[in-house]
């Protein structure tokens, strides 16, 4: 599998609906053979971007390149991609078999070839016994597989997925995550996957593109996005519970945090906080027991925060000294919300991974 080469390039793309911008000057490049996830809250423009890549909608300005060629004005079917929809978009009047080979028939692939590919794909998806059924006679998970089979059989290098797992129950979703990732790896597909579910993004993605309000907040591996969020938005969006943000005045002067006047924010994950001998004194607000961990809500100088303690440790006293892992802290500019990378500690794992991507 050849990765690293840019397969889809989005260049300064904007999409206006009336006077509101669903996408505002977005630029990103998605690499060949990678699983890229567009992640963001509802209305952030992630589905709009996917439809633009598919050619189902046209951008107001900017350019989209697939495999180096500008695809502006090109019909969806000429863009060499397949797509899986949230509702699966199976044709209710066709059987499973007809649904899977629909695209091949439309494109005039010979019958022998169609049946050969069908056998392979149906076996791969476990649909061989269901080929004669109508979509209405299938469970949600089976419908999902048919939709996936229809994308896979096209043998196109790019597969776009629009929240394909959101209609499945939790157990099935977890299974399908693993399966989707395995299929993508086995076939070397370039996948662009839209979701608002950060667990899906974290578990499947090679790279996550975090979006908010029509803009890209951060592009990075799951580790980078989690450990080194580029903006306050990403810090608050990724992670359950999200990253705690403290005004710098509470920590100023310790562990390389610049003494400040409240212009900066210190971001710390709940698991990067602990009870210490000395440190700023926090006040206990409540404890949530989760089995493996306890989530402790507390307050420090007017800022509520959450720390994660192992359940084996004793619950904290009513007032305790707060300690933190300084190499894990993130510093943000309070006004712009941007990460102040100059204060980052050298941290081996995420940057190393990034480095390999850059040179591959």
């Amino acid at each position: 599998m050849q990765t690293g080469q840019a397969q889809i390039q989005i260049e300064n793309v904007s999409r206006l609906f009336g006077s509101t911008a669903a996408l505002d000057d977005v630029s990103v490049s998605l690499r060949k053979g990678e699983f890229s996830v567009l992640l963001g809250p509802s209305g952030c423009g992630k589905s709009t971007l996917l439809r633009l890549i598919a050619g189902l909608d046209a951008q107001t300005s900017g350019a989209i390149r697939i495999g180096g060629a500008d695809v502006g004005g090109k019909a969806p079917s000429l863009r060499e991609l397949s797509m899986v929809f949230q509702s699966y978009a199976l044709f209710p009047h066709l059987t499973v078999l007809e649904n899977i080979v629909f695209g091949l028939r439309v494109r005039g692939v010979a019958k022998a070839e169609r049946m050969k590919r069908l056998d392979t794909v149906a076996a791969m998806m476990g649909l061989s016994q269901l080929l004669a059924r109508k979509p209405s006679e299938l469970s949600g998970g089976q419908q999902q597989r048919v939709a996936l089979a229809r994308a896979v059989i096209s043998e196109r290098p790019i597969c776009l997925m629009d929240e394909p797992l959101s209609n499945l129950d939790a157990k099935l979703r977890a299974d399908m995550r693993v399966e989707l990732r395995a299929i993508q790896q086995a076939l070397g597909l370039t996948v662009v996957y839209v979701t608002h579910d950060q667990i899906e993004a974290m578990t499947m993605a090679d790279r996550i593109i975090v979006m908010n309000a029509g803009r890209i907040e951060q592009v990075g591996t799951p580790e980078e996005v989690y450990a080194r969020p580029a903006t306050v938005f990403t810090a608050g969006f990724i992670g359950t519970p999200p990253m705690n943000l403290f005004p710098v005045a509470l920590f100023g002067g310790r562990h390389g945090v610049p003494p400040g006047t409240g212009k900066h924010l210190v971001g710390l994950r709940p698991e990067d906080l602990f009870l210490a001998e000395t440190g700023p004194e926090a006040e206990l607000r409540g404890v949530e027991y989760l089995g493996a961990d306890r989530l402790v809500s507390a307050r420090l100088g007017g800022t509520d925060f959450i720390l994660r303690l192992p359940a084996s440790a004793a619950p904290p006293p009513a007032r305790f000294a707060l300690g933190w892992a300084p190499e894990r802290q993130s510093l943000f500019d309070a006004a712009s919300g941007q990460r102040l990378a100059g204060f980052d500690f050298a941290s081996p794992s995420p940057t190393k991974k990034d480095f390999t991507h850059e040179t591959a």
Binding site: L56, A75, P76, S77, S87, A89, F91, F102, G103, V106
Partner: protein, 272 residues
């Protein structure tokens, strides 16, 4: 129904039965008169002898075979033209964007409100200008573009999920391919329902064919029957009723045979 008492039930069932009886009475009379000798036209006697002579004499007295052919040609031609034209128009109104879309659709809806009989004279003038007077095409032509069909199919097409449309386009369907492979199959129930309405309406249509035709080669059944009833047979009710039954039998039989499919189609198409 909430709290239906015995009295309510008797009233409702009784009223229904009475209406059904009143509705079917003419048909029952036609059957009675057609299958009995002329002597029993206005006399009810269970022991009256049955006969098929009325049908034989009606069939021999007028060119009903030709009329049947004309009517079948007529309704088939109208239905095919309506389905082709109105499916295309409905698809355009449901899924394409073009200038003047709203105004055009409003005009089509307004056409639904215009009584066709008002247009008889204008239509006749048009047909004469086209040199089509006394042809089967002239009977059908004013009905080819049906506002009702456009409206019904547009509403049906609009209920088809957008994602199916998107999926077919990603898979490589052209615009017409999309219509043929996705919209037409999914619109079938509505088309079947409309087909029934159209066939029965044009099978029974009388005034316009009466005006525009004047020869045996073009007359449909309805016009042929009326001419037969007024001039040739006078008051031979038994023969007239036999002819009437013959002309309406195909529709009646067709409906009885496909009753379930028709009712289902109507339910699915939302016409009740």
């Amino acid at each position: 129904m909430i709290g239906e008492t015995l009295f309510d039930r008797v009233l409702i069932r009784g009223g229904g039965a009475l209406l059904a009886f009143v509705w079917i009475l003419p048909l029952l009379y036609a059957i009675w008169a057609a299958f009995h000798p002329a002597a029993f036209e206005a006399r009810f006697d269970l022991t009256a002898p049955l006969t098929l002579d009325n049908f034989a004499s009606a069939w021999s007295q007028a060119p009903f075979a030709r009329y049947f052919l004309n009517t079948i040609l007529l309704v088939t031609m109208i239905l095919v033209a309506q389905l082709v034209l109105c499916t295309l128009a409905a698809f355009a109104f449901a899924r394409l964007e073009f200038p003047g879309k709203t105004i055009l659709f409003t005009l089509i809806l307004m056409q639904l409100l215009v009584m066709p009989d008002i247009l008889l004279v204008e239509n006749y003038k048009t047909m004469r200008a086209l040199g089509l007077v006394d042809t089967i095409i002239a009977i059908g032509l004013p009905y080819f573009a049906s506002g009702f069909a456009i409206f019904l199919l547009r509403q049906t097409f609009m209920t088809i999920p957008r994602e199916l449309d998107d999926a077919a386009r990603v898979e490589g369907c052209s615009l017409l391919g999309l219509l043929w492979r996705v919209y037409v199959p999914l619109g079938k129930p509505a088309m079947l329902a409309f087909g029934l309405v159209s066939v029965s309406h044009h099978w029974n249509n009388f005034l316009w064919p009466l005006i525009i035709t004047n020869s045996v080669e073009t007359r449909p059944l309805t016009v042929g029957l009326s001419i037969f009833a007024t001039t040739d047979s006078g008051t031979a009710w038994a023969v007239i009723n036999a002819a009437t039954l013959m002309t309406s039998a195909p529709l009646l039989l067709g409906f009885l045979l496909f009753q379930r499919q028709f009712v289902q189609s109507f339910m699915r198409a939302g016409i009740k």
